[in-house]
Symmetry: C2
Subunit: 473 residues, 2 copies
């Protein structure tokens, strides 16, 4: 552990124990530096880390303060899901396309969006790299880079894995048109039509769509809004069903925001290894952790090449550039071939610009800022839920990402709430989007990645009022 982490942990302990209270000012950087014999940089980094963890906030020209307490006692997490244990064909129908039609338009306050605010990203620098890289680009590379893809970018991906202690061969990394293509190809690589695939309950609607497209059956397994899929329930399901693959998001799961603790991930990987079942690990929010360090991918625990790790730059660096990747384990070559047949390659300029950005440095600085912003937004969003939503509303407590899962009182039909909110210029992602059988009728996925939008507070108030009205309705 670094010096600054150690110091940050001390402060965190003081906050947790109540020695430091909400609103208390932390010692100034200068004073703390003198008192502890640590460099100012170290103190600053410690405070910064505490900020990214959501424990303190910087006030302009005034210093760091312990944040207004979110009073964990008042927040009740939603119950673990209890799906019915049957493998089902998927038909989530038109609701999803209606939703997609509205959630990305600026006239809607994007509480239902799947993306964080694009203003959080270093778009100007990326644009500069686009222009300068392509201006001097060797024309040959426009075809050479189609397969296996921009070499510098693949090297950076491998290096970042290495920083996390993972040894991934460059040949295992397949660049894709966003993680979406990577996930779809991975699923196709390990299944045949009619197969059963395990997903979390609730799960990301794009996973359900992919299953539908490939004529696969979804087996939803009980999932905790805090720590992810239930391993005992999974083990029981594997006894009852012949399962071809699992598609899971171990970290900051969409829509729950849940994260699997390391020992649970270990148990997961061991269980699947025993059954020789491939795991498609959707890890697109990997960089958006609020804790001290990036959670360990399930991939890191895999000795058999069964885990396919899917990542992306869309959620952490370059939205709209459509560059993701797959570390395909034993399926890498097959996935690469499928991509060549399907889309040939991601856009060469997008790959080149991202590679140049990573070359020049500054990515980690950007990520620290991004994480700090999202952690701050989470606090704002949770406070807004507590202030404006009906009593009895439960919510998850994500440790990263930008989704909060809300469980409203049972009488609130969130598809109705979605329709009402839409009339008022607010998009919502109602619970039924995230399951095969339209459960979670009274749940919402709330995107808090747009808290910087000046319309956010008023929109939360409106949605809270609409929900209250529906309860009485």
């Amino acid at each position: 552990m670094n010096l600054y982490e150690r110091y940050a942990n001390e402060i965190a302990e003081l906050i947790r124990s109540g020695m430091l209270r909400p609103g208390d000012r932390l010692p100034s950087v200068r004073a703390a530096s003198a008192a502890r014999g640590l460099s100012r940089t170290t103190i600053f980094e410690a405070y910064y880390l505490l900020e990214t963890r959501g424990l303190v906030e910087a006030r302009s020209r005034s210093g760091y303060y312990v944040k207004g307490d979110l009073a964990p006692a008042e927040i009740t997490a939603p119950d673990d899901s209890r799906p019915n244990g049957r493998a089902r064909t998927v038909d989530i129908g038109q609701l999803i396309f209606e939703l997609l039609g509205s959630l990305n338009r600026r006239e809607f306050v994007p509480l239902g969006s799947a993306f964080p605010s694009p203003s959080l990203f270093p778009l100007t620098r990326l644009a500069r790299h686009l222009g300068s890289e392509m201006r001097d680009f060797d024309p040959w590379r426009l075809v050479e880079d189609l397969a296996p893809g921009n070499e510098a970018l693949r090297r950076h991906i491998v290096l970042r894995y290495a920083m996390d202690g993972m040894v991934i061969a460059p040949t295992e990394v397949v660049l894709t048109n966003g993680a979406m293509e990577g996930l779809n190809l991975s699923l196709q690589a390990v299944t045949r039509p009619g197969n059963v695939v395990v997903v979390e309950s609730p799960t990301f609607y794009a996973a359900l769509q992919a299953l539908d497209r490939l004529q696969l059956r979804a087996l939803e397994v009980a999932t905790s809004p805090a720590c992810g899929i239930d391993i005992d329930a999974l083990a029981a399901a594997l006894k009852r069903h012949r399962v071809a693959a699992c598609w899971l998001m171990p970290h900051f799961q969409n829509p729950l925001g849940s994260s699997m603790p390391d020992d649970r991930k270990k148990a997961l990987v061991a269980l699947l290894a025993e059954h020789e079942i491939p795991l498609i690990e959707d890890d697109v929010y990997a960089e958006l952790y609020f804790g001290a360090k990036k959670p360990l991918p399930a991939k890191a625990l895999d000795a058999k090449g069964l885990v396919i790790h899917c990542g992306s730059f869309s959620k952490c660096l370059a939205p709209g550039y459509r560059v993701g990747w797959v570390s395909g384990g034993r399926f890498a070559a097959k996935i690469e071939q499928m991509r060549l047949m399907y889309t040939l390659s991601p856009a060469i300029p997008s790959e080149a610009a991202i590679a140049a950005y990573l070359d020049r440095g500054g990515y980690d600085r950007h990520l620290r800022r991004l994480r700090a912003a999202l952690a701050r937004y989470l606090a704002i969003a949770m406070e807004a839920v507590q202030t404006h939503f009906p009593a009895g509303t439960r919510m998850s407590a994500p440790q990263g990402g930008y989704f909060l899962w809300l469980e409203l009182p049972e009488s609130v039909d969130t598809t109705k709430l979605h329709a009402l909110a839409r009339e008022r210029g607010i998009s919502l992602a109602p619970g039924p989007l995230f399951s095969t059988d339209r459960r979670s009728m009274h749940c919402l996925r709330l995107n808090y990645g747009h808290c910087g939008d000046r319309r956010f507070a008023a929109a939360m108030q409106t949605v809270g009022q609409l929900a209250a009205a529906l309860m009485q309705g």
Copy 2:
């Protein structure tokens, strides 16, 4: 017809009739202008058109000359294909991936490549647009443009259709990750696993791969290297088989270089309309015509929304940018939804740069230059085949695009030729890549879009010698 086209046609007729012979100098622009009472610009445009048709050549500071005759009498076209009439599952196996592994690497002379030389494209201008568009890009548009895609670009596509006399609704245009994704999605939108799909014989290997991926059966129909699929053979096939869709390239077909005359296209569209069979029209080389005007897409003749027209900027403007489109007819909404589920969107910067390029003008000027270069390259390539390849080698006479189909003497196994050429740093696309049953064993698809490569002539000589050696066993 324009004045310049009329004048060009007169000259062309003089050349055809032998009044003007190879090496003859055309009247100077000034003299012709005075003699005919036409503006110099008109004369110049006429000569330019003749140049793009490959009939005359400009010699620096000296004027225009009738080109060295390609002596049509000496060129024998390959026979029409005669596939066996059975619908077959597809398995083109590893050959294709071996090939893809080498054909885009600069150490190979790319006679087997699927791409024309990237040096033929306005890459610097596109790079400028990438940088400047994205620098000032409204961050919101990074998500807004995901669906239904860059509005300006879709408007340009619709306008270009309009210039060709086609009325296409903007809602019908679905932007895709290159035409590859468009073709794949179109095929999936109109078929179910196990269905039979008609393709040309021989056909583009990516079509065969797409059929394989979707578990479809290919029905190859007799095709003329000059004028495309045989309508009588198709009609007979439709009587014997229940066909779910046709995937055809009416213009500058890959690999034959064949082009369907308008009346044949009319008969095709009428026949398919009668059977209510969707046509996937792969028209990615549409802009690369050597004649006076762009051939009319089958889509233009379709009254029932059954024709899905697939286009791309990859072959005519922006290789590697991965932007194509589909005009999906009655299947447009379905194709758009599938793309949202599969890759979400093409790269937003690529779309924006191409839209900006089209906004600023100059596209048609670039296309004229590109067509002139390819037409010149075709003449060079045909001459090289005649000079270096074994006697009895036949070749097609493409009217556009950059593929020439060669039929070598029957004793030449082109998969062996491919292996030998590869050892000598030359890539080739052997005939068996283009059929389900590895026919066309003695055929080659020759990419002449790299004739500007200084290694081209020597490579052609080498391949010719290797072929001759193979004949002698």
